[in-house]
Point group: C2
Chain length 888, copies 2
């Protein structure tokens, strides 16, 4: 065939599934179906090369026109019909098809070739059908080829219908439809810039150009920008003989899935509409009927299932669906039309399924041998697992409903109420859960939603911005709680019963039930999913990277183990100090200058910390536990109110003026760059000494009580010099020696550092002389590498990205070029100095699949992430292994 | 001779100047003088190997004792005297001598060997001399060998003298001296732990051990710690025949410099005391006489100069001094004794001189051919030049004295009064001059003094902590202004006339006159120094690195050129905005959302900025001018008081509430990590666009007015991505194009970036695709590399260093391992991507000699520092070239 034109059907298939870049996904699959001998209406694809020539030349060149004419001649021959006339007129559809699917973004034109002559021929057989087809053609060409403004056009059509009291076009008779079509033509002639093409070839060529032009529509460009798709690939255009689903009761159009896209169940699933055309099924104007008897029984719908109405077409559909799934080795989403009892397949593509369904399909297909286990692993997006694992509110819990809305994103979470994205980010940066409460959300809020643990909005439905984003982020969300009111300025959420919930109050979002509840409710874990368990087994067998979890409490540690974490990669110790009674003791430690007051504080804190650690260690039952010593800026622990100061001064037997001085001295201009991390341990040695002693004693206590020996790691945060590490090693060894002297026993332990400053990464070789492991803390490392605080960046980073100064927010996606370069240098230098060095990553990026692949590339030992992300991380690690092996 | 013993004198010289590590500096030079045939009393050196054996063995081993005995036998032979007795008893001195000089830190013992028999023999000739020698011996041995507590011993001796009404020992007769010596012996016997050694050998061996033990005295250890000297080298001990300067009027002891140590003038200079011994000259008990007739005439002292009193000995001294200087190729500091008309040289060492004198000596010696020009360059410490260049208060200025004190450190400076080191650092970080006012200073204040431009204390003398530190830092300082009062808490300095100077008031410190003056006084530049001019010529001829200066105003630019800067490496543009009238306009730009208000602000600011730049460019007369666009955190420009807010809201026609919101939105948690540097330029494009336009227009104006074409560079601060750079390049090119369109002309310019984030250093290769030059800003780069803000670090970094977690403050000395590694990587990657890339360093480290050597090693193009440091930088650059060539 001529260059740029690829025919399919009628015994030909000039292309196949591998040609998606050239033919578009849709065109390639049509060729592939033709190649398989499936009943595809014949047609041809104008490839992306043709598109490129059209774009460059500002129109279709003569060679292309000639090739189209030639292909149309072939199509007439194959179908035995004539384009533009004759007794059996040939109508064609024009469909766009980009290499990467852009659903609904590009134009589709049907019934091309319906000239007056063709119309007359069709009308001779079925007058209403002829008018219906002509109406559809004119409506489509009015705003594309004739270039009428869509809004103006729709308004004018609506006016005409309103004048006549018509509210449903579909039920009108042929005359009314004809009058409507004439009216549309005259509106378009007035509003538009181009005439209606009367000839079949005119409709075809102008239609093809209109489909191509839709690539550059504002809507399509925005979509590509939002999906980071390139602008230059262009689209192919498929020209295909029309088959008519609107020829009466023996005709139909429908959609079929080879497996249930909601549950993944391996049975044909779908909907159809008798006597209908095009996108009538998905447009929702008439209620479609189910395909199968089983679904008809389930739905108690009175509509006749296709299985009963058209048993032969149904049988063919079922057989072809099986063929397609087996051939494409993935669940398929198939469009079909039945024309006078004959089944035609119009499109097939890999089905988009709910996360749980996709997982089940991948596992079942691998178990059936249709795909390999490696392929099953690659088919599940790690992020999808998040949805399956989040806890739900315990049904036994007493529910105190503050506001009711829509169940916009499933799962449940408790947290502190905030009213702005910035507050959400600030709270999240401190490791606390924020519930973001908004009137409604807009793209400006996405960063806040990312930072928030849950979302509540007063306006908006299931497809509102908040709902869509929350589902994609896996955040529990209640939308459209219209009986509540939000005053962002005042920081008050007024519940449906009038009560005021203020900033910092605790709220539970039950995104499954669509309710916001007062206080923190008890949660239960979701049902175990057998497919998930199987996939996790396969992932664990396949992955090289180990996966640990960040867990601070015994409860989190238990969750982490249950979700397959092989240890704790980050056990933070600071949250404990914010508890009642402990903060005051810590403040005394920091603020006092008398040894007596310090000793009192230490003797108060030590047993409490020890008990914390015993709980965590017991829960981990011998798996590694990496405890990070106190990390936050010391000023976070300072008393803030005058009353707190006065009380503390009294407790410490210190003058209020002296205390004020000391507090002021400990305040900082840039807390992120001050007395934080191990600097606290250097400047207030008692604190780390107490923590280390508590950790050691806890390990000994666990073992003494018959528990597994604790695989203990102590991690020093925010290191910037090797001297710090040496200092701590010697000090902690001395504590261990004292303990051995006192008890005759000391725990086995390893010292490591958290690499959060560029300097620590660069000096990793020297630091490793004292450290047996290093763990990259990517949040802080990103802050220091960019010179950008996460707290502050939240306010302007979207602007920054929008202006093109950054490609993405580096706190959301690891910056492999800069931060990643430091991780690479640190890993290389550390390993060179100490070949047995354990190298890991922890922090927000630790559970991210792209980052995990990066870590695999560096040969890291493990990643550590939040417990609920552990399964996703295990899967991502397995994918990374598979991909690495495939690449080499 | 035996191992560990090295003889000199009497025709022998078992060592020389190269053996300082083994013989100590003093012993090596004595051997060298003996080798030169100069009149050195014979003796021998126990080397540092002997010291090491003594330390390891806990005493002198038998081999050493035997070697000492053997050497003493030789000494008796050479001198024709007997040790411990005989008619002509041999007395020896014991002197310590470490490889690196520790002046005054280790013990010296004289008159060793003065047994009863020797005493009797001496007394037969001169009874008073004998008693004087014995008194000196006993006083020295009492606290060393006999181990009496020095304080207790001195108290007891003072009591005895007081009882007898004696206030000057030197004038007492023989009987009184004998009684005093007996009393000292009995006190030492009571207080001390060891008996007085009666035998000559006992005195010798115990004395040697005492000298060795003084290496480990608290005082010596502290000194070594303060000077970063190693503890393990130990000291050599010189045993040398005593010559007596206290044999009457034909004897004397003195000190001579081959050049005047204050001025560098090439003439013999020094002092002597007839009939004196040991350190009587420097002890200041009697007033010494000058050496030369010329000095005697100058001083109008009645004392007879040595030149007249002992012409032969003087002539010998002058000749030997010339020999020594020629031989050691450096001005010498010589100790001598005249015994009965015969000159003996006891010690020579390189003279310590005032900075100006050292400079002159180096230049004159090179001009005389005694040393090479390269050596002259290496001999002058770049930091010493600072002292020579600082301005002084204009004598014509009206002086309004707030407080009078001591002229503790010369030079004059005006600045804002602060009362704490932290305030000084905070102000300095903003590029403003701080005058630190304290009651007195302690080591905890050093960082504040470093940050301060000048210092005033109420207590303390010329050698107080404040005075010593200020001189070493080259900061003008007035000490001991006892008639003023300081209330740090209240932030008030009360002047001698009772007036109150508050925090932020402007004060001038005249460290040359010892006065603190109200307001900012006009300054004049110091006299030009011909030796400096010569040295600078040599340095300029020798260095490879270019030197630019950081200058923000036309005045600073003029100073920079005068001091030899070859361009401006950093012209900051932010100070201009803090001026009256400009701040409000900038605030409108930042806070407004209406284009009108922004346009008004811009049209106000543009001509002012343009005028600033015209001044700077004219002053530089065609040398490169690198203008850095606005850099500080935007929040520094926000209105702070309610009154300012109200006024601004009115000016901007904005509600106060809206303004509050906007100001709050622009506040930051960590200003150093927020909207600063080029982020301001991305987020508020009008500001950079206005600045760039002002810069371009200024360059065109200068050229249009007949000035040299401006070598223009525009520097973007605080870059972290290559996208930022590309963005600015395109924007600034568009501004240049607009200008060309408007005027038919546009300036030639280059775009560069300031590398202050680790990421920019790592990504330098990509960034250089859009940047023709990069300049490392080491202050910020240090902040980000360590994750440590300079503002905050000031409060704890001394503690941090003291605890061993850091070896030094990286803001004072460039951290070559971490920050330097990023500079190295950035330079390599930048040059690899763009071989013609200009690479530079600016910021505080840019004028530091060690850093300059580092930059030379990387092959950088230039360094940029403050104007007054430019000469030091030029010298340091020359030294770096010389050293690099010598190494290769």
């Amino acid at each position: 065939m001529s260059a740029g034109v690829h025919r399919f059907g009628g015994g030909l298939a000039e292309g196949g599934v591998a040609d998606a870049a050239l033919l578009g996904r849709k065109g390639a699959n049509l060729c592939e179906m033709a190649r398989l001998g499936l009943p595809v209406p014949p047609g041809f694809v104008l490839d992306t090369g043709t598109f490129a020539r059209w774009r460059e030349g500002g129109g279709l060149d003569e060679a292309t026109r000639a090739a189209i004419r030639e292909a149309m001649g072939w199509l007439e021959g194959v179908t035995g019909r004539r384009f533009g006339g004759g007794e059996r007129p040939l109508l064609v559809s024009l469909r766009s098809g980009a290499p990467v699917s852009m659903p609904g973004m590009l134009d589709t034109l049907l019934n091309i070739g319906l000239t007056d002559a063709a119309h007359a021929a069709l009308a001779a057989r079925d007058p209403r059908l002829a008018e219906d087809c002509r109406r559809r053609l004119v409506a489509a060409l009015a705003t594309t080829v004739m270039e009428a403004d869509p809004d103006d056009f729709d308004d004018a059509v609506d006016d005409w219908l309103l004048d006549r009291g018509i509210d449903r076009i579909e039920t009108q008779d042929a005359d009314t439809l004809a009058a409507l079509t004439d009216r549309m033509l005259s509106i378009a002639a007035e509003e538009g810039d181009a005439p209606f093409p009367g000839t079949a070839e005119g409709q075809l060529l102008k239609g093809i150009e209109a489909v191509m032009a839709s690539w550059n529509s504002r809507r399509a460009r925005r979509y590509r920008a939002s999906q980071s798709l390139p602008d230059d690939t262009g689209t192919a255009v498929t020209v295909q003989a029309m088959v008519l689903g609107n020829l009466g009761p023996t005709s139909a159009t429908g959609v079929a899935f080879t497996r249930d896209p909601s549950t993944g169940s391996a049975r044909l699933y779908g909907e159809y509409l008798p006597d209908a055309q095009g996108d009538d099924v998905v447009a929702g104007i008439r209620t479609p009927a189910p395909l199968t008897e089983a679904d008809a029984a389930d739905s108690r719908a009175r509509a006749t299932p296709m299985q009963r109405a058209m048993p032969e077409a149904f049988a063919a559909l079922k057989a072809h669906a099986a063929t397609l799934e087996a051939h494409f080795r993935a669940a398929q989403d198939i469009e079909f039309t039945v024309e006078d009892g004959t089944l035609w397949l119009l499109q097939t593509r890999d089905a988009r399924t709910a996360p749980r369904a996709g997982l089940r399909i991948a596992v079942e297909m691998a178990e059936a041998g249709a795909i390999s286990r490696d392929e099953a692993l690659l088919r599940v997006a790690p992020g999808d697992l998040d949805h399956l694992l989040h806890p739900k509110v315990d049904p036994a819990a007493r529910r105190d409903v503050v506001a009711k809305g829509l169940p916009a994103s499933p799962g449940a979470i408790s947290g502190e109420v905030v009213f702005t994205p910035a507050e959400a980010e600030a709270l999240s940066a401190k490791g606390r859960d924020a519930i973001l409460v908004r009137v409604e959300t807009s793209p400006e809020d996405i960063h806040g939603m990312y930072a928030a643990a849950g979302v509540l909005t007063v306006r908006g439905g299931m497809t509102s911005h908040a709902a869509v984003v929350a589902r994609s982020l896996g955040r529990p969300c209640v939308c459209g709680a219209g009986d509540a009111r939000v005053d962002v300025m005042a920081g008050v959420l007024t519940g449906s019963d009038g009560r005021a919930i203020r900033r910092g109050d605790i709220l539970t979002i039950d995104g499954t039930a669509g309710e916001a509840l007062a206080g923190a409710l008890p949660m239960i874990e979701p049902e175990p999913d057998p497919a998930l368990a199987t996939l996790m087994d396969w992932a664990d067998a396949r992955r090289r990277l180990r996966v640990r979890a960040n867990a601070d409490t015994a409860e989190e540690a238990a969750t982490a183990r249950r979700l397959g974490a092989e240890g704790i990669g980050l056990c933070r110790t600071e949250h404990a100090f914010f508890q009642q009674g402990r903060l005051a003791a810590l403040q005394q430690l920091i603020l006092s200058d008398t040894p007596d007051s310090r000793r009192r504080a230490l003797s108060h804190l030590l047993p409490l910390q020890r008990a914390d650690f015993v709980g965590v260690m017991e829960a981990m039952g011998g798996c590694p536990v990496c405890v990070r010593l106190l990390d936050p800026p010391i000023h976070e622990f300072l008393p803030r109110t005058e009353a707190a100061m006065r009380e503390l001064a009294r407790d410490m037997d210190m003058s209020l003026a002296d205390l004020h001085d000391r507090v002021e001295e400990l305040g900082e201009f840039n807390p992120m760059l001050g007395r934080r991390g191990c600097r606290v341990g250097v400047l207030f040695p008692e604190i780390y000494d107490m923590q280390v002693r508590a950790i050691f004693e806890a390990a000994l206590a666990v073992e003494a009580a018959g528990g597994d020996p604790v695989d203990l790691e102590i991690m020093v945060p925010f290191v910037s010099t090797d001297r710090e590490t040496g200092l701590f090693r010697r000090r902690f060894e001395a504590i261990a020696a004292t303990l051995r002297h006192e008890n005759g026993r000391a725990p086995t332990w390893r010292l490591g550092v958290m690499i959060e400053t560029p300097r620590a990464a660069l000096r990793c070789g020297r630091i490793c002389e004292d450290a047996a492991f290093v763990s990259f803390g990517t949040n802080d490392l990103t802050q220091m590498t960019y010179g950008l605080s996460r707290d502050d960046a939240g306010r302007f980073i979207r602007d920054y990205v929008a202006r093109g100064a950054l490609t993405h927010d580096p706190f959301h996606r690891l910056d492999e070029d800069g931060v990643g370069e430091l991780i690479r240098l640190g890993t290389e230098r550390g390993r060179a100095a100490r070949p047995d060095l354990t190298v890991a990553i922890c922090g927000e990026h630790g559970g991210d699949a792209v980052t995990i692949r990066f870590c695999e590339g560096l040969g890291m030992d493990y990643v550590s992430c939040s417990p609920y992300r552990a399964p996703a991380a295990r899967l991502a690690a397995a994918q990374a292994t598979v991909r690495r092996e495939r690449e080499t």
